[in-house]
């Protein structure tokens, strides 16, 4: 059984290196037929650059998503803490009969913004 597995492994390795060699020969031929010239890249280079920008976009996309989620979570925590703080301040206000000055326009806008 083991011998069979080794044989199979060798076959896969050979197939892998054959595929690499075919790829190499094709790219070599295309580069030879289409040498880079001023301002124009050969198709193989373009293909490589294309896959590079695809993977770069994928990386940035994966980097962006957790940041957006974390911001959303932090903002809701800020709003919740604001609300709690305002509630306690209003209780203190009642207890001390201290009249706080009403919210200014700027503060009212800010409250709307937070909501």
């Amino acid at each position: 059984m083991e011998e069979e597995v080794d044989k199979l492994e060798l076959m896969f390795q050979k197939a892998d290196s054959d595929l690499d060699y075919i790829q190499y020969r094709l790219e070599y031929e295309i580069k030879t037929n289409h040498p880079d010239s001023a301002g124009e890249k050969n198709p193989v280079t373009l293909l490589q650059e294309l896959s590079a920008i695809k993977s770069r976009f994928q990386t940035l996309h994966e980097r962006f998503k957790p940041i957006a989620d974390e911001q959303k979570e932090t903002k809701s925590r800020i709003c919740a803490t604001f609300n709690k703080t305002m509630t306690v301040i209003q209780e203190l206000q009642k207890q001390t009969d201290l009249e706080l000055s009403p919210l200014t326009e700027e503060e009212k806008t800010a409250v709307q913004q937070l909501k």
Partner: protein, 86 residues
């Protein structure tokens, strides 16, 4: 079986790349191939520029996230103070 799946996708990916290269092999015979290639080259440059902008935007987002966290921490301190006052 997952190893075999991985091996299979590995080999398929290489075959896919070879097919792409094969389709490019005769692109010289496509009329206007030079124009098409140079357009593709230009488009790749434009997308790279956009990705540069996106990267800067994401870095800014990371800084903004830190500011929000600092704000949140300071606000929670304020809340503790008010609770203490009460």
């Amino acid at each position: 079986s997952s190893d075999l799946d991985q091996l299979c996708s590995h080999i398929n990916e290489k075959i896919g790349n070879i097919k792409k290269s094969l389709s490019l092999r005769n692109c010289g015979q496509v009329p206007n191939s030079k124009t098409i290639l140079s357009k593709i080259g230009d488009e790749i440059m434009v997308i790279n520029e956009l990705l540069n902008k996106l990267e800067i935007e994401i870095q800014f987002q990371e800084q903004t996230t830190n500011s929000l966290k600092e704000l949140c921490a300071s606000l929670e301190e304020d809340y503790k103070d008010v609770e203490h006052l009460k």
